[in-house]
Symmetry: C3
Subunit: 382 residues, 3 copies
């Protein structure tokens, strides 16, 4: 009889240091898998807590110290994530969000999957009296509670559950409860996230999943594929070239290249389910991001195809909103407002493809969702 296991890693009762639990302890005969915790050393990552999940096929690292974002991942030799200028998992204490004109968030930006939100998640701006900084605060808030579960059964899985509070007096009072799970032996990870309005008054919230890929998935000839209902350039820079090849990668480019951002409204199933994909140049690998348009209606594609060592990366970013300044999103009706005590739920899956067949099948699913010819705007939405 295989027993379930719960490890409470962080709570008001204490925080564990190094630990490990795996297939040996579980005795489930499912091959080698493990989940473990360690605390990082050196430089700006001193004291950062990470939970490393290895389901036997997919490895990834959850960072409770950083809003339970996911630092990096891999499937065997296939690296997910990217080569950021930032190599260390920077501790929030070394990040000042107001720095650099509200771009301080970039000081610790090196992860595979960043969380953006919850009060706001777009470009730095003035929102009435309130200055808002790039991508919000959740990516630099430590989890108040962390538990790790091993759930045996028909589809045995590992779950990291974290609670992160973004609260202050006269400000947001939002609680993120995330469950990041993976089925043993699969190449999929899933976020099941709930944002709760902790107060008795209505509150806005925004959330974006900044899912970032560099080589080997990103490279010349790589493509972004999605069931596009509408796509528009975010700004004049993205509109250059009349949207020709907006979804194809041609870099890395020379110094002087500037990022391009595209705003996508995807088609979904009757239930709102949709999938988008990054396909490698050789068509032999890829990553599929799946989400529900009723939860996350907006998809931003970020192409940052500068030189290899300057942060060569693309982001597939499902979200409640586009990353324009919050007043723009509010005016466009893209900022959800939660009643007192109400919640916003989002499910995001990431599936890694490792063969031509898998890529072809993923493409077929996307084509099935493509209900009509994409509307390609030439002008920015704003």
């Amino acid at each position: 009889m295989v027993e379930p296991k719960i490890i409470v890693d962080t709570s008001t009762q204490g925080t564990l240091k190094d630990w490990r639990f795996g297939s040996e302890e579980a005795g489930d005969g499912l091959g080698r898998w493990s989940v473990s915790k360690r605390i990082l050393s050196g430089g700006r990552q001193q004291g950062v807590e990470v939970i490393e999940v290895d389901n036997g096929a997919l490895k990834f690292t959850v960072v409770p110290s950083r809003g339970c974002n996911v630092w990096t991942g891999c499937v065997g030799p296939l690296r997910l994530g990217w080569d950021s200028p930032v190599k260390e998992v920077v501790h929030p204490r070394f990040v000042n969000l107001t720095e650099r004109g509200g771009l301080g968030w970039l000081n610790g930006f090196g992860e595979w999957i960043s969380r953006c939100g919850l009060e706001s998640m777009g470009a730095p701006c003035q929102d009435g009296k309130q200055p808002l900084t790039l991508h919000g605060r959740i990516n630099y808030l430590p989890a108040s509670y962390v538990e790790v579960r091993y759930e045996p059964g028909e589809f045995p899985r590992l779950v990291v559950r974290g609670i992160v509070e973004e609260t202050l007096m006269f400000g947001p009072q939002l609680r993120l409860t995330t469950e990041i799970s993976t089925e043993i032996g699969t190449r999929t990870l899933v976020f099941e996230d709930t944002v709760e309005n902790l107060t008795d008054a209505p509150q806005e919230m925004q959330s974006l999943y900044h899912i970032n890929f560099g080589p080997p998935l990103l490279g010349p000839g790589a493509e972004f594929l999605a069931p596009v209902k509408k796509v528009a350039p975010m700004n004049a820079r993205a509109a250059e070239g009349a949207m020709k090849g907006w979804n194809v990668y041609t870099g890395p480019h020379e110094p002087g290249y500037t990022e391009q951002v595209y705003l996508v409204e995807p088609f979904g199933s009757a239930q709102g389910e949709t999938e988008v994909m990054l396909k490698s140049g050789d068509g032999l690998s890829g990553a599929v991001v799946s989400f529900n348009l009723n939860q996350l209606p907006c998809l931003t594609l970020w192409k940052q195809e500068g030189p290899l060592k300057s942060g060569y990366v693309t982001g597939l970013e499902p979200a409640t909103s586009y990353p324009y300044p919050k007043p723009v999103e509010r005016a466009a009706g893209r900022v959800p407002k939660l009643g007192g005590g109400k919640t916003h739920h989002a499910r995001v899956g990431i599936r890694v493809l490792v063969s031509k067949d898998e890529v072809r099948q993923a493409l077929a699913r996307i084509e099935d969702l493509q209900q009509a010819t994409p509307q390609v705007a030439q002008e920015p939405l704003e």
Copy 2:
């Protein structure tokens, strides 16, 4: 023979972790009391050091990591403090005072008694070339030295002594030495605070004790009672209603409610001693704040009667000044200036009332101090 005890908790020689000293160790036969230290876990309170004092009747928590403020208190089931949106004792490393237009102080605002000061303590403002942030820095500076003393004798008491330095080059050079004490078995705590000008040039300082109450002391029908010489609304919002019921609580109110602030000049005894009180709606409990007008001539009453879960709270705030921007206070002659090496001393007592009789006696003392009819201004001071 009962021996005194001194525990040096924090100094340049080291910082202790968990410890406890109490009536068992002292052997004083005074019933059960204790003082103990622990380090908090989880989220934004990871690593915060707290000293918990239980004198047998009154419990309270001093936070050396946060300028020796007092997180919460209680007398049996009577909770002092309030329900802040911020539940954790946030570590200073997670607070950026310049955030949110200088309102970053609110990121960790959840305590029963906050310290505001020492270079400044009011609203964010530009003071000449110097931007000042809300409530100053002292509430987020860790104590350099902390000792805890048990002093037996006729009036045996527990004392937490802390030293907090607010210093920088070309800036303030002020040292706070605080003694927070309580007599065993009483329902009173006392601050004896000294601010020293460490330099050889004159320096300004400001100090405010932000003493905050939510339910059960705060509620509909609760009253603020004081020997009022003058009272004025702080701004147009507080002036609404022509000052009718300015000292009575009617909330909690619906979302959309905005705080009201009143500026009080109390009467005092010939020696400057005065007392003000928060009385619960049923008149069966209350809290008295006593201070000396020669030290702290200004009393601010903060009414924040919004929805229960949005930070429903009132503050009784004795201070050197009112919480207008520092240039306003300077112009009004309300910013003390200390000569080189000079000090400012303040004594603030908080006494908890737990019966109708105690409330009645406290009220009688306040009425004794009421030497003339209060002058109630209809217009803000500024």
Copy 3:
């Protein structure tokens, strides 16, 4: 046979706590010397890591938590460094560089030798879209790697090697590798510093060594001596007095005194080697700073002769640039630009003089370098 020794203190593999290595362990018969590590306690220095080097004649303290700056030094009773208002070795987590209008750097300024740079190192300013804060970030970045070496041989020496990364997405990608070394038994310490452009695109960098002295070297009658080719006041304040006595110290002065800054272009040898000196008022002691004009062409002299307890200090500051705002330095051609993968190297030596003879010899070397009459500008460079 005396063996070399390497202690890896900090890396991604871990960080050591207290340790010590010295002449006893080395068995080199060179008298008593040692190098040791400890972690500081209390207030804003809680958790700061320091490495204390005592070569038998000269003691100094390297702070890996603070960009491998040097906190203080002494030769027997001769104290190097100064009396800052800041007594603690403030941890970066308590320093917000954007505070006080970009002067937040001053919150932790108390060291003998500060590092300024690497993206910028001058006055706070707006550089295009980029706000820059005083003296840059390197002085508050923790080292990612620290090793300490004992190298026996003909000139046995102790070396602290540190790597500090100043990197962010869309920002600087610079790595400082410093070797701070001292020969056993000498009164000299040497920085050998390399700044590397980690990216594949060109990048600017700036670096300044803020070497600070208070009493006993600083005092009335003390002098700054250098082979001056040109000197100019930095601003109107420094230009007061028509540059008379610009290199002589007359303080400490009364409150109200304002700092004076002078910009020096020294003469050097054919190879660019130069030396500048602070000579004590009695001529019996001094400190020589040696550097190479091909690496560090600019020397700033900072005179802060205010009251003794308000930060009475002078700085001798060899640098790539002057401390004007970066756009000024760029326009003047004083901001080095490194090609992708390229490095900037600088060697700075500090030699302590403890007798009239040593002072006289140092003066003779400076006079040898004085190839022509100094050009003394009356007007600020900008």
